[in-house]
């Protein structure tokens, strides 16, 4: 099975009404790779995530997860195949405690499904795994706090935790460090590195230090099209990228 990409997009297009937002994106993400997508605001990065994770149907093209077509599947089915995503705008369960948020994220992968005959307080292994993840996220002290009351950076950490909790092998993170201070970003990067160890990571990121620090491969998306894709050194040297994007950032 070597050589088969974790994610393969072939000429994916997406229209909202008459406007074409994703205009023929083809992209391979190799298994185990850390792949960053960069591009200006409104380029369609989040939309691309929404298409891959099944939030919106695609207009044309195809999306494969480890060789299996997923572009007509609902989000929960794609998730069960081992793809999990985070949200640019934090998406948690605000009235549930931090612990419950994480435990919910673990439930399906641990085989509990829609059970109404298991008592969660007695699910030892599940609770221990949740506690371990909570410690890993440095949220152990927030155990019983309603998640809606966490600080912004803590909510972002929880968001990442909920994304990786189910043990998916392909992780999509949408701007995980956006709005964070310098030290918070450093902490988040270390966290991401740790929890995505051995997994395929596809992330949207604006902070160039993070991108060049974390990513094995970078794809530049501008106006719904891929204008460049390759290792960081090549992207840094790419004239088109500099003009379209990096240059604009530096200016």
């Amino acid at each position: 099975m070597t050589g088969m990409p974790a994610i393969r997009l072939a000429d994916v297009r997406k229209n909202f009404g008459a406007t074409e937002i994703i205009r023929g994106v083809s992209l391979d993400v190799a298994g185990g790779e850390r792949h960053a997508i960069i591009g200006p605001n409104g380029a369609g990065k989040t939309t691309l995530f929404n298409l891959i994770s099944g939030r919106f149907p695609i207009t044309a093209g195809s999306i494969e997860l480890r060789g299996q077509r997923i572009d007509a599947l609902p989000p929960q089915r794609i998730n069960r195949l081992g793809l999990s995503r985070s949200f640019q705008i934090t998406s948690i369960f605000p009235r549930l405690t931090v612990f419950e948020n994480l435990r919910c994220a673990l439930l399906w992968s641990r085989g509990y499904r829609y059970s109404f005959w298991h008592l969660l307080p007695r699910a030892r292994a599940l609770n221990e795994a949740t506690e371990a993840l909570l410690r890993d996220l440095n949220l152990a002290e927030r155990h019983d706090l309603p998640a809606g009351l966490l600080s912004y950076a803590e909510q972002r950490a929880l968001e990442i935790g909920m994304t990786v909790a189910g043990g998916a092998s392909v992780i999509l993170l949408d701007e995980p460090t956006a709005g964070m201070s310098h030290s918070e970003t450093e902490y988040a990067v270390a966290l991401i590195r740790r929890v995505t160890e051995g997994k395929t990571l596809l992330m949207v990121e604006h902070d160039m230090r993070v991108v060049f620090d974390l990513a094995d491969t970078i794809t530049v998306l501008v106006y719904g099209r891929v204008i460049a894709s390759g290792p960081p050194s090549a992207i840094r040297a790419d004239r088109a990228v500099q003009e379209a994007y990096l240059g604009a950032m530096a200016a």
Binding site: Q76, R80, Y114, S115
Partner: protein
């Protein structure tokens, strides 16, 4: 289950068992019939309210047809009892509520499949339609529903696990206690299951649940079915108690009552609906004896709760928890005391107005005499009207003033508690 919750559950059970004997009727050497029937009613309403809250509070589903499943369980039980009485159904009385629950479940599977495809407003609309549909059917299809007169039975089917005849109200009451205990306990345990927790999760953010492997529709559907099952049990007890089930048991006012009880008691805490059911039943049994207008009072109470205490009575109590733990509760005593007099004035003025009006329209024609707060009153003189209006106006203005003072103190106390935490 922890030791603490076991103690609470067993205490409540003990209270329910002992309660009728505290109202002993010495003339007839048995607990007072009035109290038994009120407590029996409470049991059924507790099941109705708790099962409703599986939707409203736990799943964020605003159902307007919960009585449908309660009533259907009731109608079915009448037929089960009749069949048993005719020797065609060898099921003891004690297990009839289980059959009622299964009937409720069956209907909930059918209607749940339609309603739970949607959520939020669309869900509410569909359940409104379902409620009306079944209520209409209850008047149209006589074989099952008996039309306007309903269907009736004799609960003494002579089939009992414990050799009981269920001739007396107290025996039926203990059957209700048993089933209310079991149903409430199961509903409580259900909140701790994966389904129960994911119902909470989908209530908070159904979309995120999808990206964790769950189909929110299936969560809603299963939750709806279980709620229908428990509502059916309540309806079964209703049928056994009254031996007749009519249109009222499936009609919209009972669905509204379920909502009222869950909301007034508080839908964010498990015991909230229990409190609501007890309170509303007390109002129903107590106030309805004293006044024709009791529904108006319940309605006003509901509006007041929605406006000022959306988390219900349990929500109000819970809000005091942190203040109490911080030892600051004493600072609230004065503000509370200052609410008492204007509060009483407002309520008295309002009750006076309602009673005077209702007396003029209904009571006088029936040749009754108006008695308000213990004294006879002539509604055709100006004085009682003037007093009621003055009480209402002055009370309201004064109450608003005191409420502002209360809010200021509350903010400062709650603020200081938060700062310490």
């Amino acid at each position: 289950m922890t030791r603490r919750s076991a103690i609470i559950w067993l205490t409540l059970l003990a209270v329910a068992i002992v309660l009728p004997w505290l109202f002993y009727d010495f003339a007839h050497h048995r607990p007072a019939g009035f109290v038994i029937s009120m407590l029996s009613q409470m049991g059924m309403m507790i099941i109705l309210a708790l099962s409703y809250n599986m939707l409203l509070g736990q799943a964020g589903l605003f159902s307007l047809c919960h009585a449908t499943f309660f009533g259907f369980g009731g109608y079915s039980t009448i037929h089960f009892l009749n069949a048993a009485g005719a020797g065609e159904l060898p099921v003891p009385t004690e297990l009839m509520p289980l059959l009622a629950g299964l009937s409720g479940l069956g209907l909930a599977i059918v209607f749940g499949a339609m309603a739970t495809k949607q959520r939020a407003t669309a869900f509410a609309m569909i359940t409104l339609g379902i409620g009306e549909l079944v209520a209409t059917a209850a008047l149209m299809f006589h074989h099952f529903f008996g039309g306007e007169g309903g269907v009736s039975t004799d609960r003494m089917i002579d089939q009992s696990l414990f050799g009981l005849s269920y001739a007396s109200g107290i025996q039926v009451y203990y059957l209700i206690v048993g089933w209310t205990f079991v149903a409430a306990l199961l509903m409580w345990l259900q909140t701790m299951t994966p389904l129960g927790r994911m119902a909470n999760a989908c209530r908070d953010n159904f979309e995120r649940a999808q990206f964790m492997g769950y189909d929110p529709r299936i969560v809603r559907f299963l939750q709806f079915c279980l709620a229908g099952f428990f509502a059916g049990i309540g309806g079964g007890l209703y049928a056994i108690t009254y031996e007749i089930v009519t249109f009222d048991a499936v009609a919209a006012p009972l669905s509204a009552n379920a909502l009222l009880m869950a909301y007034i008691g508080g839908n964010m805490v498990f015991v909230g609906p229990v409190l609501g059911a007890v309170l509303i039943t007390l109002l129903q049994s107590g106030v309805s004896l004293m006044s024709n207008s009791w529904l108006i009072y319940v309605g006003v109470l509901f509006i007041a709760m929605v406006t000022f205490a959306p988390a219900g009575i349990t929500g109000i109590i819970m809000a005091h928890g942190p203040v109490w733990r911080a030892g600051r509760l004493s600072r609230l005593i004065l503000p509370y005391l200052r609410l008492v007099v204007p509060g009483i004035a407002t309520v008295a003025g309002f009750v006076g107005m309602v009673e005077l009006l209702s007396f003029l329209t209904i009571g006088a024609a029936a040749g009754k005499h108006l008695v308000l707060f213990g004294s006879p009153i002539d509604a055709n003189t100006a004085a009682p009207w003037a007093i009621a209006i003055v009480l209402l106006v002055v009370g309201t203005v004064w109450l608003r003033f005191e409420a502002r003072y209360f809010a200021r103190v509350w903010e400062s106390v709650a603020g200081s508690v938060e700062a310490r935490a």
